[in-house]
Amino acid sequence: MSDTKDAARPEGPSVEKQDSTAKSETPPEKKAELADAELDTVAGGVGQASLLQAQKNIGGAVPGDQSRAVVSSVNIGGAIGPIQDLLKR
Protein backbone atom coordinates (compact mmCIF):
# COMPACT_ATOMS: atom_id res chain seq x y z
CA MET A 1 0.00 0.00 0.00
CA SER A 2 2.65 2.45 0.98
CA ASP A 3 4.72 1.50 -2.05
CA THR A 4 1.78 2.28 -4.26
CA LYS A 5 1.27 5.61 -2.59
CA ASP A 6 4.91 6.47 -2.89
CA ALA A 7 4.84 5.59 -6.54
CA ALA A 8 2.02 8.04 -7.04
CA ARG A 9 3.94 10.89 -5.49
CA PRO A 10 5.48 13.42 -7.85
CA GLU A 11 9.18 13.96 -7.88
CA GLY A 12 10.28 17.19 -6.36
CA PRO A 13 11.51 18.62 -3.11
CA SER A 14 9.40 18.97 -0.03
CA VAL A 15 8.84 22.43 1.40
CA GLU A 16 11.75 21.95 3.78
CA LYS A 17 14.08 20.75 1.05
CA GLN A 18 13.00 23.53 -1.24
CA ASP A 19 13.64 26.01 1.53
CA SER A 20 17.23 24.98 2.01
CA THR A 21 17.79 24.81 -1.73
CA ALA A 22 16.39 28.27 -2.26
CA LYS A 23 18.61 29.74 0.43
CA SER A 24 21.82 28.26 -0.86
CA GLU A 25 21.34 28.23 -4.61
CA THR A 26 19.65 31.46 -5.60
CA PRO A 27 21.03 32.31 -9.05
CA PRO A 28 22.57 35.76 -9.53
CA GLU A 29 19.90 36.91 -11.97
CA LYS A 30 17.20 35.98 -9.48
CA LYS A 31 19.03 37.79 -6.70
CA ALA A 32 19.08 40.90 -8.85
CA GLU A 33 15.39 40.54 -9.53
CA LEU A 34 14.65 40.14 -5.85
CA ALA A 35 16.83 43.04 -4.79
CA ASP A 36 15.09 45.22 -7.33
CA ALA A 37 11.66 44.44 -6.00
CA GLU A 38 10.94 46.24 -2.81
CA LEU A 39 7.73 47.67 -4.20
CA ASP A 40 4.56 46.18 -2.81
CA THR A 41 1.60 45.54 -4.99
CA VAL A 42 -1.66 46.76 -3.61
CA ALA A 43 -5.21 45.55 -4.03
CA GLY A 44 -8.13 46.81 -2.05
CA GLY A 45 -5.78 48.86 0.07
CA VAL A 46 -4.13 45.70 1.37
CA GLY A 47 -0.46 45.60 0.58
CA GLN A 48 1.45 42.46 -0.28
CA ALA A 49 4.92 41.36 0.60
CA SER A 50 7.78 42.43 -1.63
CA LEU A 51 9.25 39.76 -3.88
CA LEU A 52 12.12 39.27 -1.51
CA GLN A 53 9.93 39.01 1.55
CA ALA A 54 7.44 36.75 -0.23
CA GLN A 55 10.20 34.31 -1.10
CA LYS A 56 11.30 34.26 2.53
CA ASN A 57 7.74 33.75 3.69
CA ILE A 58 7.12 30.83 1.35
CA GLY A 59 10.38 29.24 2.42
CA GLY A 60 9.34 29.46 6.04
CA ALA A 61 5.70 28.46 5.52
CA VAL A 62 4.19 25.79 7.72
CA PRO A 63 5.18 22.51 6.10
CA GLY A 64 2.64 20.26 4.48
CA ASP A 65 0.55 18.24 6.85
CA GLN A 66 1.05 20.57 9.78
CA SER A 67 -1.44 22.81 8.06
CA ARG A 68 -5.16 22.42 8.68
CA ALA A 69 -8.29 21.25 6.99
CA VAL A 70 -11.03 23.84 6.98
CA VAL A 71 -14.28 21.98 6.85
CA SER A 72 -17.30 23.75 5.47
CA SER A 73 -20.28 23.13 7.65
CA VAL A 74 -23.91 23.28 6.83
CA ASN A 75 -24.07 26.58 8.64
CA ILE A 76 -21.92 28.13 5.98
CA GLY A 77 -23.22 26.18 3.06
CA GLY A 78 -26.56 27.84 2.57
CA ALA A 79 -30.14 26.71 2.63
CA ILE A 80 -30.38 23.17 1.39
CA GLY A 81 -33.60 21.27 1.66
CA PRO A 82 -32.82 18.06 3.52
CA ILE A 83 -30.50 19.76 5.98
CA GLN A 84 -32.98 22.52 6.64
CA ASP A 85 -35.49 19.85 7.51
CA LEU A 86 -33.08 18.27 9.94
CA LEU A 87 -32.44 21.56 11.65
CA LYS A 88 -36.13 22.21 12.05
CA ARG A 89 -36.65 19.04 14.05
Binding site: A8, Q48, Q66, V70, G77
Partner: protein, 284 residues
Protein backbone atom coordinates in the same frame (compact mmCIF):
# COMPACT_ATOMS: atom_id res chain seq x y z
CA UNK B 1 -14.84 42.89 -2.99
CA UNK B 2 -12.20 41.06 -1.04
CA UNK B 3 -8.66 41.55 -2.36
CA UNK B 4 -8.38 37.79 -2.04
CA UNK B 5 -10.75 37.57 -5.02
CA UNK B 6 -9.07 40.31 -7.04
CA UNK B 7 -7.21 38.87 -9.99
CA UNK B 8 -4.18 41.18 -9.75
CA UNK B 9 -3.75 40.39 -6.09
CA UNK B 10 -3.98 36.64 -6.56
CA UNK B 11 -1.81 36.67 -9.68
CA UNK B 12 0.98 38.16 -7.60
CA UNK B 13 0.61 35.47 -4.94
CA UNK B 14 0.59 32.71 -7.55
CA UNK B 15 3.62 34.21 -9.24
CA UNK B 16 5.53 34.26 -5.96
CA UNK B 17 4.87 30.58 -5.40
CA UNK B 18 5.91 29.78 -8.97
CA UNK B 19 9.05 31.89 -8.64
CA UNK B 20 9.99 30.14 -5.42
CA UNK B 21 9.37 26.62 -6.71
CA UNK B 22 10.40 26.95 -10.35
CA UNK B 23 12.90 29.82 -10.22
CA UNK B 24 11.08 32.00 -12.72
CA UNK B 25 8.04 34.21 -12.76
CA UNK B 26 5.48 32.83 -15.23
CA UNK B 27 4.07 34.66 -18.21
CA UNK B 28 0.37 35.39 -17.76
CA UNK B 29 -0.67 32.75 -20.27
CA UNK B 30 1.38 30.13 -18.44
CA UNK B 31 0.26 31.08 -14.95
CA UNK B 32 -2.15 28.22 -14.32
CA UNK B 33 0.27 25.60 -15.54
CA UNK B 34 3.14 27.13 -13.55
CA UNK B 35 1.01 27.13 -10.40
CA UNK B 36 0.15 23.48 -10.94
CA UNK B 37 3.81 22.55 -11.39
CA UNK B 38 4.87 24.63 -8.39
CA UNK B 39 2.31 22.98 -6.14
CA UNK B 40 3.42 19.54 -7.29
CA UNK B 41 6.91 20.41 -6.11
CA UNK B 42 5.98 22.09 -2.86
CA UNK B 43 3.17 19.99 -1.47
CA UNK B 44 3.69 16.69 0.30
CA UNK B 45 1.25 14.79 -1.88
CA UNK B 46 0.06 14.88 -5.47
CA UNK B 47 -3.33 16.13 -6.44
CA UNK B 48 -5.71 15.32 -9.25
CA UNK B 49 -4.83 18.24 -11.46
CA UNK B 50 -5.00 17.05 -15.02
CA UNK B 51 -2.38 18.65 -17.25
CA UNK B 52 -4.84 18.18 -20.08
CA UNK B 53 -7.43 20.17 -18.21
CA UNK B 54 -6.54 23.83 -17.86
CA UNK B 55 -9.38 24.50 -15.51
CA UNK B 56 -11.78 22.34 -13.62
CA UNK B 57 -11.26 18.63 -13.56
CA UNK B 58 -14.27 16.97 -12.07
CA UNK B 59 -12.83 14.07 -10.17
CA UNK B 60 -15.54 11.59 -9.52
CA UNK B 61 -13.53 8.40 -9.47
CA UNK B 62 -12.37 7.76 -5.93
CA UNK B 63 -10.87 4.45 -7.05
CA UNK B 64 -8.10 6.61 -8.44
CA UNK B 65 -5.29 6.51 -5.89
CA UNK B 66 -4.45 10.19 -6.08
CA UNK B 67 -8.05 11.26 -5.68
CA UNK B 68 -8.44 8.79 -2.87
CA UNK B 69 -5.48 10.13 -0.94
CA UNK B 70 -6.73 13.67 -1.40
CA UNK B 71 -10.19 12.77 -0.20
CA UNK B 72 -8.82 11.04 2.89
CA UNK B 73 -7.09 14.29 3.77
CA UNK B 74 -10.12 16.42 2.97
CA UNK B 75 -12.59 14.18 4.82
CA UNK B 76 -10.42 14.91 7.86
CA UNK B 77 -11.39 11.69 9.62
CA UNK B 78 -15.13 12.23 9.25
CA UNK B 79 -15.86 9.13 7.24
CA UNK B 80 -14.67 6.49 4.81
CA UNK B 81 -13.75 7.27 1.24
CA UNK B 82 -15.12 3.91 0.10
CA UNK B 83 -18.44 4.31 -1.64
CA UNK B 84 -18.36 8.09 -1.59
CA UNK B 85 -17.83 8.61 -5.30
CA UNK B 86 -20.57 9.87 -7.58
CA UNK B 87 -20.67 6.73 -9.63
CA UNK B 88 -23.74 6.92 -11.85
CA UNK B 89 -23.52 8.53 -15.25
CA UNK B 90 -26.73 10.37 -14.51
CA UNK B 91 -25.30 11.82 -11.31
CA UNK B 92 -22.12 12.91 -13.06
CA UNK B 93 -24.09 14.58 -15.86
CA UNK B 94 -26.37 16.37 -13.43
CA UNK B 95 -23.51 17.74 -11.34
CA UNK B 96 -21.51 18.73 -14.40
CA UNK B 97 -24.46 20.69 -15.76
CA UNK B 98 -25.10 22.42 -12.44
CA UNK B 99 -21.42 23.32 -12.09
CA UNK B 100 -21.48 24.90 -15.55
CA UNK B 101 -24.49 26.96 -14.51
CA UNK B 102 -22.73 27.82 -11.26
CA UNK B 103 -19.74 29.12 -13.19
CA UNK B 104 -22.05 31.45 -15.11
CA UNK B 105 -23.41 32.73 -11.82
CA UNK B 106 -19.92 33.33 -10.51
CA UNK B 107 -19.03 35.17 -13.71
CA UNK B 108 -22.13 37.33 -13.21
CA UNK B 109 -21.04 38.01 -9.65
CA UNK B 110 -17.56 39.15 -10.69
CA UNK B 111 -15.39 38.39 -13.68
CA UNK B 112 -12.34 38.87 -11.49
CA UNK B 113 -13.55 36.48 -8.81
CA UNK B 114 -14.56 33.88 -11.39
CA UNK B 115 -11.13 33.95 -12.99
CA UNK B 116 -9.46 33.72 -9.58
CA UNK B 117 -11.51 30.65 -8.80
CA UNK B 118 -10.55 29.06 -12.12
CA UNK B 119 -6.91 29.80 -11.41
CA UNK B 120 -6.83 28.51 -7.84
CA UNK B 121 -9.14 25.52 -8.10
CA UNK B 122 -7.72 22.97 -10.47
CA UNK B 123 -9.76 20.04 -9.24
CA UNK B 124 -13.12 19.71 -7.63
CA UNK B 125 -13.61 16.33 -6.04
CA UNK B 126 -17.27 15.56 -5.68
CA UNK B 127 -17.81 12.83 -3.15
CA UNK B 128 -20.72 12.07 -0.90
CA UNK B 129 -20.01 11.73 2.77
CA UNK B 130 -23.12 10.58 4.62
CA UNK B 131 -23.06 13.28 7.26
CA UNK B 132 -25.54 16.08 7.48
CA UNK B 133 -23.32 18.89 8.58
CA UNK B 134 -20.32 18.89 6.25
CA UNK B 135 -20.59 20.30 2.75
CA UNK B 136 -16.97 20.22 1.69
CA UNK B 137 -13.49 21.24 2.69
CA UNK B 138 -10.09 22.58 1.72
CA UNK B 139 -6.71 21.84 3.26
CA UNK B 140 -3.69 24.07 3.65
CA UNK B 141 -1.44 21.27 2.43
CA UNK B 142 -3.52 20.62 -0.66
CA UNK B 143 -3.83 23.87 -2.55
CA UNK B 144 -5.48 23.48 -5.92
CA UNK B 145 -8.02 20.87 -4.90
CA UNK B 146 -11.31 21.15 -3.09
CA UNK B 147 -13.88 18.65 -1.99
CA UNK B 148 -17.60 19.29 -2.34
CA UNK B 149 -20.19 17.04 -0.72
CA UNK B 150 -23.14 17.48 -3.08
CA UNK B 151 -26.53 17.38 -1.43
CA UNK B 152 -29.78 16.23 -2.96
CA UNK B 153 -31.76 19.14 -4.28
CA UNK B 154 -28.84 21.49 -4.72
CA UNK B 155 -29.32 24.12 -7.37
CA UNK B 156 -26.69 25.95 -9.38
CA UNK B 157 -26.53 28.74 -6.81
CA UNK B 158 -25.63 26.22 -4.09
CA UNK B 159 -22.74 24.91 -6.20
CA UNK B 160 -21.66 28.48 -6.94
CA UNK B 161 -21.69 29.27 -3.24
CA UNK B 162 -19.63 26.20 -2.40
CA UNK B 163 -17.06 26.89 -5.14
CA UNK B 164 -16.76 30.47 -3.93
CA UNK B 165 -16.58 29.31 -0.33
CA UNK B 166 -13.74 26.87 -0.94
CA UNK B 167 -12.04 29.28 -3.32
CA UNK B 168 -11.81 31.85 -0.55
CA UNK B 169 -10.18 29.25 1.69
CA UNK B 170 -7.73 28.48 -1.12
CA UNK B 171 -6.88 32.14 -1.59
CA UNK B 172 -6.40 32.57 2.16
CA UNK B 173 -4.07 29.57 2.40
CA UNK B 174 -2.10 30.95 -0.53
CA UNK B 175 -2.02 34.42 1.03
CA UNK B 176 -0.77 32.93 4.28
CA UNK B 177 2.12 31.31 2.45
CA UNK B 178 3.10 34.43 0.49
CA UNK B 179 2.24 37.34 2.74
CA UNK B 180 1.65 35.58 6.10
CA UNK B 181 -1.44 36.32 8.13
CA UNK B 182 -0.67 34.90 11.56
CA UNK B 183 2.19 35.34 13.95
CA UNK B 184 1.91 31.83 15.40
CA UNK B 185 1.65 28.35 13.87
CA UNK B 186 -1.81 26.73 13.80
CA UNK B 187 -1.29 24.46 16.78
CA UNK B 188 -0.48 27.43 18.99
CA UNK B 189 -3.81 29.03 18.14
CA UNK B 190 -5.83 26.21 19.67
CA UNK B 191 -5.45 27.25 23.29
CA UNK B 192 -8.43 28.69 25.16
CA UNK B 193 -7.09 32.22 25.07
CA UNK B 194 -6.88 32.08 21.26
CA UNK B 195 -10.44 30.90 20.64
CA UNK B 196 -12.80 33.22 18.78
CA UNK B 197 -16.44 32.80 17.79
CA UNK B 198 -16.73 31.26 14.34
CA UNK B 199 -19.63 32.98 12.56
CA UNK B 200 -20.32 29.88 10.52
CA UNK B 201 -20.18 27.24 13.22
CA UNK B 202 -21.52 29.46 15.99
CA UNK B 203 -18.94 28.21 18.46
CA UNK B 204 -15.47 29.25 19.58
CA UNK B 205 -12.78 28.01 17.22
CA UNK B 206 -9.00 28.42 17.01
CA UNK B 207 -8.11 31.91 15.91
CA UNK B 208 -7.03 31.05 12.37
CA UNK B 209 -10.15 28.98 11.70
CA UNK B 210 -12.42 31.73 13.00
CA UNK B 211 -10.52 34.13 10.75
CA UNK B 212 -11.09 31.85 7.75
CA UNK B 213 -14.77 31.59 8.61
CA UNK B 214 -15.18 35.35 8.94
CA UNK B 215 -13.56 35.99 5.59
CA UNK B 216 -15.71 33.35 3.90
CA UNK B 217 -18.95 34.60 5.44
CA UNK B 218 -18.13 38.13 4.33
CA UNK B 219 -17.49 36.92 0.78
CA UNK B 220 -20.73 34.91 0.67
CA UNK B 221 -22.77 37.89 1.76
CA UNK B 222 -21.13 40.00 -0.91
CA UNK B 223 -22.00 37.31 -3.47
CA UNK B 224 -25.69 37.32 -2.62
CA UNK B 225 -25.90 41.08 -2.37
CA UNK B 226 -24.13 41.61 -5.69
CA UNK B 227 -26.41 39.19 -7.51
CA UNK B 228 -29.52 40.52 -5.81
CA UNK B 229 -30.40 37.05 -4.59
CA UNK B 230 -32.04 36.36 -1.25
CA UNK B 231 -29.60 35.15 1.34
CA UNK B 232 -30.43 31.67 2.60
CA UNK B 233 -31.55 31.71 6.25
CA UNK B 234 -28.39 30.20 7.65
CA UNK B 235 -26.19 32.59 5.71
CA UNK B 236 -28.33 35.34 7.18
CA UNK B 237 -27.65 33.84 10.61
CA UNK B 238 -23.93 33.95 9.97
CA UNK B 239 -24.17 37.65 9.28
CA UNK B 240 -25.72 38.15 12.69
CA UNK B 241 -22.65 36.61 14.30
CA UNK B 242 -20.14 38.67 12.33
CA UNK B 243 -19.97 41.54 14.85
CA UNK B 244 -18.96 39.19 17.67
CA UNK B 245 -16.55 37.34 15.40
CA UNK B 246 -14.91 40.56 14.23
CA UNK B 247 -14.70 41.82 17.80
CA UNK B 248 -13.05 38.57 18.89
CA UNK B 249 -10.55 38.73 16.05
CA UNK B 250 -9.81 42.36 16.89
CA UNK B 251 -9.34 41.52 20.57
CA UNK B 252 -6.52 39.12 19.72
CA UNK B 253 -5.11 41.06 16.80
CA UNK B 254 -1.71 40.39 18.34
CA UNK B 255 -1.99 37.00 16.61
CA UNK B 256 -2.04 38.75 13.24
CA UNK B 257 0.82 40.06 11.17
CA UNK B 258 0.51 43.58 9.83
CA UNK B 259 -0.83 42.06 6.65
CA UNK B 260 -3.37 39.92 8.50
CA UNK B 261 -4.46 42.98 10.45
CA UNK B 262 -4.97 44.95 7.23
CA UNK B 263 -7.23 42.19 5.92
CA UNK B 264 -9.14 42.31 9.21
CA UNK B 265 -9.56 46.06 8.83
CA UNK B 266 -10.86 45.47 5.33
CA UNK B 267 -13.39 42.95 6.70
CA UNK B 268 -14.55 45.43 9.31
CA UNK B 269 -15.15 47.99 6.58
CA UNK B 270 -16.95 45.45 4.41
CA UNK B 271 -19.20 44.51 7.29
CA UNK B 272 -20.18 48.10 7.86
CA UNK B 273 -21.18 48.47 4.22
CA UNK B 274 -22.84 45.04 4.01
CA UNK B 275 -24.96 45.84 7.01
CA UNK B 276 -26.40 48.80 5.19
CA UNK B 277 -26.94 46.97 1.91
CA UNK B 278 -30.50 46.44 0.79
CA UNK B 279 -31.13 42.77 0.07
CA UNK B 280 -34.28 40.93 -0.90
CA UNK B 281 -36.27 39.37 1.88
CA UNK B 282 -35.69 35.58 1.80
CA UNK B 283 -39.36 35.05 2.59
CA UNK B 284 -40.50 36.74 -0.61
Amino acid sequence: MLPLLERDYVDYNVDMVALFALGTRPAPAARFDAYRKALLRLQPRPFPFGPESPHHLLGFDVADLVARECLELLFDGRGAVEGSGVSSDEGVREISQLVREAEHLLEAYSGSAASVLRLLIGSILFARLPVEDVLGSSHGALLGTIWINPMAGWKAVDYAEMILHEGVHQSLFLDEKVNTLFTRPPREMETDDCLVLSPSLAQPRPYDLAYHSTVVVTALHDFYVALGLPRPPRVEGNLGRLPDALAGLRRRADLLTDHGERILRFLEGEFRSLRGAAVPDPAT
